[in-house]
């Protein structure tokens, strides 16, 4: 074989490979402890919960493209809303790439319909006149001066609003444009009573952050309105600019939270405005982004909604574990019956592979938020077969070499040099399959692909660092070398005449 190096030389250090493997296992275990990763993170299909996949498209009557920035903006808006449910470990993430991205929302537990309704609404940026404002100190503030021209009900709400509470800072998506509303500042430092919306986010045509050329340090945000927006913004600015504070402020509200509430210094009929203040570069850019994308010219097609009750989740988990146990048991039984002593190597190798995979599940859960789904469990179970296949390829190769008349110690090495290549090629094909599945697929399929790829890699590690070294060591033992009937390498099982223990 052209790739074969002198195989006899590679025999040398089985103990070293085993030591390295042991070190890796100990390190991973240690890491799991240090990171307190003690349980595999389960997907919603295994513990119950709701997942919604949204597919963004351009809203009817809007131009433009579904850009990455717009999707990121949508993800952060939806995340704020989902967090308002107060369910731990909720997740909102964009999946896929390019124009073909989806937003996947996963919320564990029994929240079902609420999640679906919450994420379905489109957030919109709106400009509203400030009617009253107060610092939010924490405790409700019944002494707050009631704002004039506002119903008692809204005033009461305003007094009761506590913007230091996290749940009030997460956006509700329930700020109807025609209502007078109470709202918190995004940072939670102030609260407002706001008039009905007069300018809408989609009436902004451009927004950008800029640096004042004269001072060289003052950041500002400039924005330009379209025709409709120019008229609306001109009207609101010319009306409020002469009013007393805080009535001369216009709040920029996104998803029920005040992003900024600049004071209007003059009527702006031209359709282009500047917001100045003591912005840092980051603040200015953030505000510009909100203005640009907060309008969300995106609508969402609800691609898929999946609600799994905790009962079904538990059933699926149990079924997955049962199938895994059963499959593993059968593979071990078959290996032991067929390969006898060598079957024990399979048992050991699968045990090592199992621990490696489990540790990686734990750690990847911590590091990259890996969650184990039902499809993922299926991938891992299928991988038991792939992993055991590598051992069989090697064992059958050893037998072939013994049939050629080699001694076991030699056969173990020459057999390895050939089996190694076969295993590498075959595993590489598996990995291609896993990678392609991962990139082309959505949702549950990805979980399957991920575990399949991961376990195939683990298979390679185990075959090289455990199975081969162990077989080398065993080959030196009399039990195997002399072809004991139970060793799996007897003359009867290889179908050869007995061979001598040494060449």
């Amino acid at each position: 074989m052209s790739t074969t190096t002198k195989p006899v030389k590679t025999t040398a250090r089985p103990a070293r490979s085993l030591a390295i493997l042991a070190l890796v296992l100990i390190t991973l275990t240690g890491l799991a402890f240090i990171q307190s990763a003690t349980a595999v993170r389960l997907g919603l299909d295994l513990r119950g919960g709701t997942s919604v996949t949204l597919q963004p498209r351009i809203a009817p009557g809007e131009n433009g493209k579904v850009t990455n920035e717009a999707i990121d903006q949508a993800v952060s808006i939806i995340r704020q809303r989902v967090n308002s449910l107060g369910v731990a470990e909720s997740e909102v993430a964009a999946q896929g790439s390019g124009t073909n991205r989806q937003i996947v929302i996963s919320v564990p537990g029994d929240t079902g319909r609420r999640v679906v309704e919450l994420v379905g609404q489109t957030a919109e940026l709106r400009f509203r006149q400030v009617l009253a404002t107060a610092a939010s100190t924490g405790a409700a503030d019944p002494a707050a001066t009631p704002a004039t021209g506002v119903s008692a009900e809204v005033n009461a709400k305003f007094a009761a609003l506590d913007c230091t509470k996290a749940e009030n800072l997460q956006g509700s998506g329930s700020d109807a444009p025609g209502d007078t509303i109470v709202a918190c500042d995004r940072a939670g430092g102030a609260k407002y009573i706001l008039a009905p919306a007069e300018v809408l986010g989609r009436q902004i045509s451009k927004a950008s952050a800029g640096l004042d050329a004269q001072s060289g340090s003052a950041w500002y945000v400039s924005l330009t309105f379209n025709g409709e927006g120019t008229a609306a913004f001109g009207a609101i600015t010319s009306r409020v600019t002469s009013l007393a504070p805080p009535l001369n402020q216009v709040a920029i509200v996104l998803d029920g939270l005040v992003v900024s509430a600049p004071r209007i210094n003059e009527a702006i009929p031209s359709g282009s405005a500047q917001i100045t203040g003591s912005f840092t570069q980051l603040e200015a850019q953030d505000l510009a982004n909100v203005l640009k994308y907060g309008a969300l010219p995106l609508a969402f097609d609800r691609g898929e909604v999946q609600q799994v009750s905790p009962t079904l989740g538990a059933d699926q988990l149990n079924a997955g574990l049962l199938a895994g146990g059963l499959g593993l048991g059968l593979v071990l039984l078959y290996s032991l019956l067929y390969y006898r002593g060598l079957g024990l190597v399979t048992v050991g190798s699968l045990a090592i592979a199992g621990s490696l995979v489990y540790l990686l599940f734990l750690l990847l859960g911590k590091w990259i938020g890996f969650t184990l789904t039902l499809a993922g469990i299926a991938g891992a179970i299928v991988a038991i077969g792939v992993t055991a296949d590598s051992f069989i390829i090697y064992f059958e190769r050893i037998r072939d070499e013994v049939r050629e008349g080699r001694s076991l110690r030699t056969a173990v090495e020459t057999g390895w040099s050939r089996a190694r290549r076969t295993i590498l090629v075959a595993d590489f094909v598996s990995i291609i399959a896993a990678v392609l599945l991962y990139f082309f697929a959505v949702g549950g399929v990805r979980g399957f692909a991920f575990t399949l790829g991961l376990t195939t890699l683990v298979d390679l590690v185990v075959v090289f660092a455990f199975t081969k070294p162990i077989v080398t060591i065993l080959a030196k033992m009399n039990f195997f070398a002399s072809g004991h009937p139970l060793s799996g390498l007897s003359a009867k099982s290889t179908g050869t005449l007995p061979v001598a223990g040494e060449a």
Partner: protein, 349 residues
């Protein structure tokens, strides 16, 4: 068990030989029949696509004693347009599948079912798939399939020989056709989980084929120098030498998949596990067959057309060695072809 091992030894030395390459017409015929049946089933019955591809809603109520009639009545009372499919799943579940519904209609069905069976709305397992989503999934599945075939073909062409890649892909396409055909014929539901199953089979089927081809390549490396056997004979020996291994790897691969199928279909009734493992189970069985009976004969046929191999066949037959492509290599000739006698190995030790 040890009988199989003993057989492995005899097959390895060529004492016992199963004629595979020579009888290729027979295997091709068997496969052709299956492929035609599959095409027939596909064109007449078509695939039974799950709601994930068409768009639609699926509601599963878990309640001991829940009846199909009650569920039907509940759905009817919710005023949902179109025909709903209602079936029992496992021992204590009823599943309702409808066409694509809007949010209000979905909520109405949930409420009606919850009221009918007096269970909380949250306990109803629901899956709602938008119609455009199904197209997306289908498109991606097809991309995955073609992407995989192209990548693997390139890889195998580099790692082995271009003709091996062609033969391997022919076997894979054969597997996909027959597996899909079985799905059309029996009318199993095709879901995204099934598609993953299909794609995984491709990997598996190739795994087996790779093992066989590796041996073929080894046996045929010095073939033109020794003039002991034709390409077909050497290939046949290689297949025989790896047949025990192929059977073993397939059994080992089928055991866990069978477990998933058993648990998924038996205990859960339906869903990801069943769909995935059923596709895998059928595909694995077909894949094992093709890696032995389709890929090697196709390869042999492709290679035998090369002038060098034709000349070799002439030399081998002219010598009065066992004539004809159909005759297996005799036992003794194996000794000369054995790896021990390859020039390179002499330097070892």
């Amino acid at each position: 068990m040890s009988k199989l091992s003993g057989l492995g030894g005899r097959l390895y030395r060529g004492e016992t030989s199963i004629e595979i390459i020579g009888r290729r017409r027979r295997w091709y015929a068997v496969s052709a029949v299956f492929v035609l049946l599959s095409l027939g089933a596909l064109s007449i019955q078509g695939l039974h696509l799950g709601i994930e591809f068409k768009g639609g809603s699926s509601f599963t109520v878990t309640k001991v004693g829940a009846s199909v009639e009650d569920a039907r009545a509940a759905v009817a009372s919710a005023g949902v347009p179109g025909e709903a499919i209602v079936q029992t799943v496992g021992s204590d579940k009823v599943r309702v599948q409808t066409g694509a519904l809007n949010t209000l209609q979905n909520n109405a069905v949930q409420d009606a079912l919850a009221a009918k069976f007096s269970v909380p709305v949250e306990s109803i397992d629901t899956q709602i798939v938008g119609p455009s989503w199904g197209k997306e999934i289908t498109r991606k599945a097809l991309y995955g399939l073609f992407g995989f075939l192209i990548f693997v073909m390139l890889y195998l062409a580099m790692a082995f020989e271009p003709k091996m890649a062609v033969a391997a892909i022919a076997a894979v396409v054969h597997d996909v056709f027959i597996t899909v055909g079985i799905y059309a014929l029996v009318g199993f539901d095709v879901t995204p989980a099934t598609v993953i199953g299909f794609l995984t089979i491709l990997g598996y089927s190739l795994y087996d084929t790779v093992v066989v081809f590796d041996k073929i390549r080894e046996n045929t490396r010095t073939i033109t120098a020794t003039s002991k056997s034709t390409y077909s004979q050497a290939t046949n020996l290689a297949v025989n030498q790896t047949i025990v291994r192929s059977i073993n790897t397939s059994i080992i691969a089928l055991l866990p998949v069978g477990s998933i199928l058993f648990v998924g279909a038996g205990l859960l009734g339906a869903g990801t596990l069943k769909d995935l493992s059923l596709a895998l189970f059928i595909g694995l069985a077909v894949g094992t067959y093709s890696s032995i009976f389709i890929a090697p004969p196709v390869l042999a046929q492709l290679r035998e057309r090369e002038p060098a191999m034709r000349a070799l066949a002439k030399r081998v037959n002219g010598r009065g060695a066992p004539a004809g492509v159909t005759t297996p290599a005799p036992a003794h000739s194996n000794e000369r072809r054995g790896p021990r006698n390859q020039p390179k190995r002499k330097h070892r030790k």
